[in-house]
């Protein structure tokens, strides 16, 4: 570890209101994730895993506490600022890939680059490099329906890394894949972490993740209950 923080959650709580009930998805969590680490957050359903990712990516807001990513505090940003910030710093990978079905693999990966000032030729170079990195250089003109689940997830990962974000956030990236494809995706994420020094935060149920991530955080009922590294500071319960 090099000491620089990629993500820092300080005494973060998130409470949802469901009719008359309050659901404490996260309860006073403190977490520091260093740059270039590969962190897997594991836990049962409803433990608050996805809530952590939503807070890190700024698509949800904490009820209390402070969230910083890449030394930028995102709590105070408005929606447009958050969108711009996500475009620069966050690469998102979803469980169900969430590719745009009417766009080819190339166009899906190009999508985040449309928000940058890059010209067409530069965008093409970036997209080709990203698809090359995930091993799909030869499937650029294929539509999502023409790809397997594992290939779709690779395209989604290429889309996540094409802007060279500060952090890649993956929500159950193997949740919809068979064992072989899941293994390939985990191995790809590990490769991205090792070769391209990408910080990766992944939420998963998949026990195979333990072999690939360098840190495993275990979450239950909104609090960290265990860590197989020293990332969780004393504030965590």
């Amino acid at each position: 570890m090099n000491g620089k923080e990629a993500v820092c959650l300080e005494r973060v709580s998130r409470t949802y209101k469901r009719d008359d009930f309050e659901v404490h998805a996260l309860d006073n969590v403190t977490l520091t994730i260093p740059e270039r680490s590969f962190v897997a957050i594991m836990g049962p359903s409803g433990s608050g895993k996805t809530t952590i990712l939503n807070l890190i990516t700024g698509i949800d807001h904490p009820t209390s506490g402070r969230v910083s990513v890449g030394n930028e505090e995102i709590n105070g940003m408005n929606e447009n600022q958050l969108a711009d910030w996500r475009a620069r710093h966050i690469g998102l990978v979803f469980q169900f890939y969430n590719l745009i079905p009417v766009l080819t693999a190339f166009e899906n990966v190009e999508l985040p680059l449309l928000l940058t000032g890059l010209g067409k030729a530069e965008r093409k170079t970036h997209v080709e490099a990203a698809l090359e990195a995930v091993g799909l250089a030869e499937r650029m003109q294929h539509y999502p329906r023409q790809l397997s689940g594992g290939q779709e997830q690779r395209v989604a990962i290429a889309r996540a890394i094409v802007t060279d974000p500060t952090i890649v956030v993956a929500d159950e990236p193997t949740g919809d894949l068979d064992a072989k494809s899941a293994e390939e995706i985990l191995s790809l994420l590990a490769e991205l972490n090792r070769r391209f020094k990408k910080t990766i935060v992944m939420v998963t149920h998949d026990s195979r993740a333990e072999r690939f991530a360098d840190t495993i955080l275990r979450l239950d009922k909104g609090v960290f209950v265990g860590a197989e590294s020293s990332l969780v500071s004393g504030g965590a319960r």
């Binding site: 990516t57 949800d60 969108a83 745009i100 999508l111």
Partner: protein, 382 residues
Amino acid sequence: MKFTTLVLKNLLRSKRRTILTVLSIAISLFIFSALVSLPTVANHVLADTASSVRIACRTKMGQAYPLPEAYKAKIARTPHVVAVTPDNFFGGVYHEVSDQFPNIAVDPEQIDVMWPDWGFSPGGVEEFKKLRTACLAAEGTMKRFHLSVGQQIQLRGATYYPVNVTLKIVGTIAKGPAPSFLVFRRDYLEEIEGRPGRVDNFWVRADSSQAVPGIIQSVNAKFANSSAETQCDSEAVFIGSVIGRFRMFFTLARILGLIVVVTIGLVAANAAAMSIRERRNEIAVMRSIGFRSPLILRLLIAESVVTALAGCVLGCGAAFALLKVFSVTSDVLGPFVGAIQIPPPVVLETLLAAILIGLWSSYVPARSAVRRKIVDALRMVD
């Protein structure tokens, strides 16, 4: 420009729905542009046929009442009057009831002085003045019924005159008040009718346009307090008053056009709402990778506007083509239909209507989709 592919590909996501939406908008804008173009007939007739030196005199009581033939000489004596030509609307039928076109009986002596702008064929007027049963037919009429100069035809009297007239075509008219019409001699009609001496209108030609107001005043004053008072107007005002009877029809046409546009706008709104609803998850994904909500809103609206503009091009094109066909076959459909065209302001109005359809059909569902919490939108589908 870099988002063009995205907009176009989203439009083609459901080809059938897009095509049906485009067609429904096209049909509504076709109806709109065709209906809104109707008033241009008035401008067309006024601009093309009205002369600044011709005056129409009719009875003050209305078109159904005649004027005495004896007025002709009195009007002719009015200062600055160059020619006076009485007319009677015969309204005869050629062969079938559907073979109708305006046919009018006029005095032959000054027809060329009164209407030098009609483009009479060489020698036609001279023959018309010589032969009592002569007639001059518009080129549209000649073409429509495959007639030729020298041919004899019969017109059956209908509503106004229950008599038949047998006429010999002695010449043609290239540019009359309507594409299809015919004039024959009023003395022939008078003879058949037993010389009742009645006239529908007196056409008066002034020596200059400046003299027109004075002649109108003078003629009206001359027959004031008589049993048949006159109402004289310049030709433009006269035609305008005739067309004015259709104003309510034009207004109704305009309202109907707007109703059609609004109705189809609602249909398009439903289609846009369905399309956006199906893509809420994708919209959330786009926002989560950095697309700002206003940008997505603009892209969604752009899709609708492009759809509506495609409908506009189709609808306007169809209206243009149809009115072109009308203008070619206008003899069959009536003399004025051929005069209806889609003027540039109507094209602009239709374009504006299309943009409005695009905007209002998509704004509400698009705004609702981009304002939804990303977390909720992602969870909703997953």
